[in-house]
């Protein structure tokens, strides 16, 4: 996988993870272009598209779009399930995750992603093992988490 982007229906970028070295300028250009392309697509269309020399795999969960860029040889369907597993992980961690959880706890979203994917490859597919790693880390925290789920009105359904 070359990169993963999370953005809202309004086109606001919520998370970006790059597994190939690119300049900030290139990253912004790619993001702009892809957000536009994906948002322009209709609901029932297929989840894959060719873009430059990459394949884009995307899926919408409630108000958020999850979008991955993979290489020619990579498997589209398994990438779709990478997205789903990540959503499940977020959901389990935050408890019915919503966009606001990801906005206010963006650093956690990155930490969970790092446990699941590393260097663009799946590191650990077991939900239990990933969450165990994150929870262990949480135990090390001296301060308790501050939940914002109460503010949310657009709940993400985990699909």
């Amino acid at each position: 996988m070359q990169f993963m982007l999370l953005f809202s229906r309004q086109g606001k970028l919520r998370l970006q993870k790059w597994y190939v070295p690119l300049s900030d300028k290139e990253k912004k250009k790619i993001t702009r272009e892809l957000v536009q392309t994906v948002l322009a697509r209709k609901p029932k269309m297929c989840s894959f598209l060719e873009w430059r020399d990459l394949k884009i795999v995307y899926k919408r969960y409630a108000s958020l779009y999850f979008c991955c860029a993979i290489e020619d040889q990579d498997n589209e369907l398994i990438t779709l399930e990478i997205i789903h597993r990540y959503v499940e992980l977020l959901d389990k961690y935050f408890g019915s995750v919503c966009e606001l959880d990801i906005i206010f706890n963006f650093e956690k979203a990155y930490f969970i992603l790092d446990e699941f994917l590393l260097g663009g490859e799946v590191q650990e597919t077991s939900k239990k093992n990933v969450l165990k790693a994150i929870e262990q880390a949480d135990l090390l925290q001296e301060v308790s988490k501050w939940y914002f789920s109460c503010l949310s009105n657009s709940m993400l359904c985990s699909g």
Partner: protein, 939 residues
């Protein structure tokens, strides 16, 4: 922003994020951010030392601001400080900041690497994990240099925790991708391969990715992974859905790992070991069988995961391309998906079938789905799916279904999405040409293309149709008639006007007999489009008009009137004005004969790879435009040796001689002495060049090609699979100029392209050649031109050698041909009466002045052709001079810088014996000899 006290999470951060979200405008947001940046800056610069918590909070705010899309140019040092904190959360935020805002400051990198080194050595698995994540996320060369040696040790150490092993494996993979040179292969590799047997499936998953990446570059080193991967895969696919516990995903056992293992196996050919091979075949069959079982869950995740494995298995089957049974089963499975209600599956089935179409085992099976695919083209609502259908139709096309597929593609083109029209046009053009049995069909197809999607028809496409029509005389009349009819449409595309103009200009005469397409009607039809066209098209039409002057003398005055009109003669565009002026002048002063010669029908184009194919390849990237035949060709090329490869140590002398370079002369003389190296002249070259240039022996056919140029100045001198060399030259008295065109016929660049002119010492003293070096890179499909200025100093016997050296792909190419600069090129024809001729003939009766040759005719003895050749040779052809009307006599003067030599020639054919007697008389023995030699070869 009120000061925030400790102990309530990063409340300050949450407040800040809320503030940003409440901003009503972009300006307000920027204002709020600037305020925050000022605040953070003052905290960082303040006298009071910040505690870890505050540092963490501010660094996190900076990160948030950066991720919003704003630039951050400070805070790195504070983040680095966090790395050495003993509190996990502070360290974690520090690492996150470093990973996202990668910095190239070397002092900073040193500090970061130090912190990472400490954490890696800490033996605390959570700290080690953070450090490894950071390396994997940054993946810079500096990090590779610092840690690529250390990580393999962590990976294979017996006491490393599983989670750390997983991170280490993928961390190493990332470093190998960016800096393979820093990752040394060694003992660890065999131990990594054995991780495929690890009990922990998470470790196996991470290790498989690493092994796949390493095996692609070092297949030998990781060969043992094949059997391990097969047995692991076998255990997974035969396991019950609950066996693997948390690694079962929606009733599918370890789908991610299965996909990765199947991917790893695609780095290798089918296993040699029969047992392993059998086991793998069993696995693949099991996967295919499972596709037929009823689903264990209605959730889309279940079917996605199951089919992800299935598609990867099919990729492996196609990659092996050795089990006809599996290939056909795969094809049938994909055929089912073609009609699946899930758009995603239809898309993937079309995509996967494209590769299957190129296997000779399954090509026929793929073809049976043609109706479904055509239907997809018509009914799919998603353009990306329709695009896949077009690709598949293209891939499954062969002679048996070409007409149907081309018709369907043309049909679809009428409504196709604008974004894919150009590609469809290219594909139709290629298929129509490739599978044309009947060229009228080809012409119809291309004209249809222009009619339906004229805007998307690139130059390559319409150039190509003209090339083909010119080269195939059986289709010329039909083409003329068809373009004439197509031009009748009130609004036709400019590309049609171009094709129509060109074809009628060449072949309009073939339909002029029909009163409905008489010369005048043809002309009026074209001219009615003239004013609507762009400048290049109008220029082309003007050339058509002058060609009409030659084809149809009866409308000459009409055309002259048009050329003479102010809108042409005084046109603001220089090109149009020049053409109008020149064509008008040409039509006025030239005799019918001259017009006929100047405006002769275009000679056939040399056969070459279609430039359209090159364009499509460029558009889609190499490898995507393969078809069955190309793949077969690739397979055979190993056996046949492909292109000749010569060791590359001959990195070749650059063209101008080094001494000339030092003097800084613009056009350095290009002549260098030819080998053998015993001649003193070549020594200089040897001294200055890195290695001696090895000049290839003359290319086969070079002599024949050379002879063809004795009586003409333009044409193709040399052509092979890669390179075409064309010539165009003009001579006047003792001077000449030759344009050499080097055409790259491939779609790959030629590198170090170095043409060199080689004259022997003797030739150098009588012939002076000057040229400039050409650009050393010649792009695929491109043509470069080289001009050679020629001066004949005294008469000469030999011809210069043109040596071309370049690199194509991995091979070094070295080609030599004889360059047709011959003595007769400096001929000036002389007209004289019969009496004068014989008087001079007698004056040159000295035996050294005469040269005679009696030879057998090599070509049919045609009077007109013979006349043309004598004129082409350069001498005047004197009519009614010889008492025997069957004989030919000629006269002319050879111009050299030092002297002029009068030449007389007489050619006596003997039809019965199929022989000729050629006699040359000149004032110089060597000239008589050389001219006789050259001309004898022509008949």
């Amino acid at each position: 922003m009120p000061a925030v006290s400790k102990g309530d999470g990063m409340r300050g951060l949450a407040v800040f994020i809320s503030d940003i979200r409440n901003c009503k405008s972009k300006e307000a947001e920027i204002k709020r951010i600037n305020k925050e940046l000022a605040n953070i800056r003052s905290k960082f610069k303040g006298d009071k030392a910040l505690d870890g918590y505050s540092k963490k909070k501010y660094v996190c705010k900076l990160l948030f601001i950066f991720l919003l899309g704003h630039d951050i140019d400070f805070g790195h040092m504070e983040a680095v400080n966090l790395l050495s904190s003993n509190r996990y959360t502070e360290k974690q935020i520090g690492y996150l900041f470093i990973s996202v805002l990668v910095n190239s400051n070397s002092e900073l990198i040193r500090l970061i690497n130090n912190a990472i080194k400490n954490d890696l050595a800490s033996r605390n698995p959570t700290f080690m994990g953070l450090a490894l994540h950071c390396i994997a996320n940054v993946g810079s060369r500096e990090m590779a240099e610092a840690f690529a040696g250390e990580i393999p040790k962590i990976l294979v150490a017996g006491d490393t925790m599983d989670s750390v092993k997983q991170s280490a494996a993928l961390c190493l993979l990332r470093l190998y991708r960016t800096s393979p040179d820093f990752v040394p292969m060694g003992d660890w590799t065999s131990r990594v391969v054995h991780l495929l047997n690890d009990q922990h499936l998470g470790v196996v998953t991470a290790a498989t990715s690493l092994i796949t990446t390493l095996a692609q570059k070092n297949p030998e080193e990781f060969k043992t992974s094949v059997s391990l991967a097969v047995s692991r895969l076998s255990r997974i696919v035969t396991s019950a859905s609950t066996d693997l516990q948390d690694y079962t995903y929606y009733f599918v056992p370890a789908p991610w790992l299965s996909v990765k293992l199947l991917r790893l196996l695609q780095c290798y050919p089918p296993p040699e070991d029969a047992a392993v091979r059998g086991r793998l075949t069993e696995c693949l069959e099991t996967i295919l069988n499972k596709a037929q079982e009823p689903p264990k869950s209605k959730k889309v995740q279940h079917s996605n995961a199951k089919n992800a494995v299935l598609f990867e298995a099919i990729s492996l089957i196609i990659h092996h391309d050795s089990e006809p049974n599996l290939l056909v089963r795969a094809c049938n499975q994909l055929g089912q998906f073609l009609q699946h209600r899930e758009t995603n599956l239809r898309y993937l089935a079309l995509e996967s079938m494209c590769t299957l179409a190129s296997s000779e085992f399954s090509h026929e099976a793929v073809k049976t789905h043609i109706e479904t695919v055509i239907n997809a083209l018509k009914t799919e609502r998603d353009v990306s799916v329709r695009q896949r259908a077009v690709d598949l139709l293209y891939a499954m096309c062969d002679r048996s279904n070409a007409q149907q597929i081309v018709a369907e593609m043309l049909n679809y083109l009428e409504t196709a999405d604008y974004s894919i029209r150009e590609e469809i046009v290219l594909k139709v053009a290629i298929l129509a040409e490739k599978y044309a049995v009947d060229y009228t069909w080809y012409v119809d197809t291309i004209l249809n293309l222009i009619r339906i999607a004229g805007d998307y028809v690139s130059e390559e496409v319409w150039y190509r149709v003209i090339q083909i029509v010119i080269n195939r005389d059986d289709v010329q009349g039909y083409a003329a008639k068809t373009v004439f009819e197509a031009l009748q449409a009130p609004a036709c595309h400019e590309n049609l006007v171009k094709v129509g103009g060109y074809i009628l200009g060449e072949f309009g005469n073939l339909i002029a007999g029909d009163p409905r397409s008489s010369p005048l009607i043809q002309f009026n039809l074209l001219h009615s489009k003239f004013h609507l066209c762009s400048v290049p098209t109008r220029a082309l039409l003007l050339s058509t008009y002058i060609k009409f002057v030659n084809l149809f003398p009866e409308i000459k005055t009409t055309i002259q009137d048009v050329l003479r009109s102010d809108s042409q003669l005084k046109n603001a565009d220089v090109e149009l004005q020049q053409r109008a002026v020149e064509y008008l002048r040409l039509s006025t002063i030239a005799s019918t004969d001259i017009l006929a010669t100047v405006l002769e029908e275009m000679p056939p184009f040399p056969e070459r790879e279609s430039s359209i194919l090159a364009k499509l390849k460029k558009k889609k990237g190499p490898g995507t435009v393969t078809d069955l035949e190309e793949i077969k060709k690739e397979r055979n090329s190993d056996v046949n040796g492909g292109t000749e490869s010569t060791p590359v140590n001959a990195s070749t002398v650059s063209t101008p001689s080094p001494s000339a370079d030092l003097l800084g002369l613009g056009a350095a003389p290009l002549t260098s002495s030819a080998p053998p190296p015993s001649s003193t002249g070549s020594l200089l070259v040897d001294v200055f060049s890195d290695s001696a240039s090895v000049v290839a022996p003359l290319a086969p056919g070079s002599e024949d090609n050379f002879a063809r140029f004795v009586c003409k100045n333009n044409g193709v001198l040399f052509e092979n699979q890669l390179l075409q060399i064309g010539l165009k030259s003009e001579f006047r008295q003792n001077l000449g100029r030759m344009f050499i065109f080097y055409g790259n016929k491939t779609s790959t660049q030629f590198l170090n392209f170095t043409p060199t002119l080689i004259c022997s010492d003797e030739l150098q003293s009588s012939l002076n050649l000057q040229t400039k070096p050409v650009d050393p890179t010649v792009d695929g499909g491109a043509q470069v031109q080289q001009v050679v200025n020629i001066e004949c100093i005294s008469d000469f016997m030999e011809a210069p050698i043109l040596n071309i050296q370049f690199r194509y792909g991995g091979t070094f190419q070295n080609i030599s041909v004889k360059l047709p600069i011959t003595l007769n090129k400096f001929f000036q024809p002389t007209e004289m009466a019969s009496q004068d001729f014989f008087q001079r003939w007698k004056q040159l009766s000295n035996p050294q002045q005469e040269m005679q040759n009696i030879f057998k005719a090599k070509h049919p003895m045609d009077t007109e052709i013979t006349k043309a050749k004598i004129i082409g040779f350069g001498s005047a052809l004197l009519e009614e001079v010889d008492p025997n009307p069957a004989n030919f006599v000629g006269a002319g003067i050879i111009h050299t810088k030092t002297t002029q030599i009068g030449c007389l020639l007489r050619l006596e054919p003997n039809l019965q014996a199929q022989m000729y007697r050629l006699t040359l008389r000149t004032s110089k023995e060597t000239v008589s000899q050389r001219l006789c030699e050259l001309l004898s070869e022509q008949f």
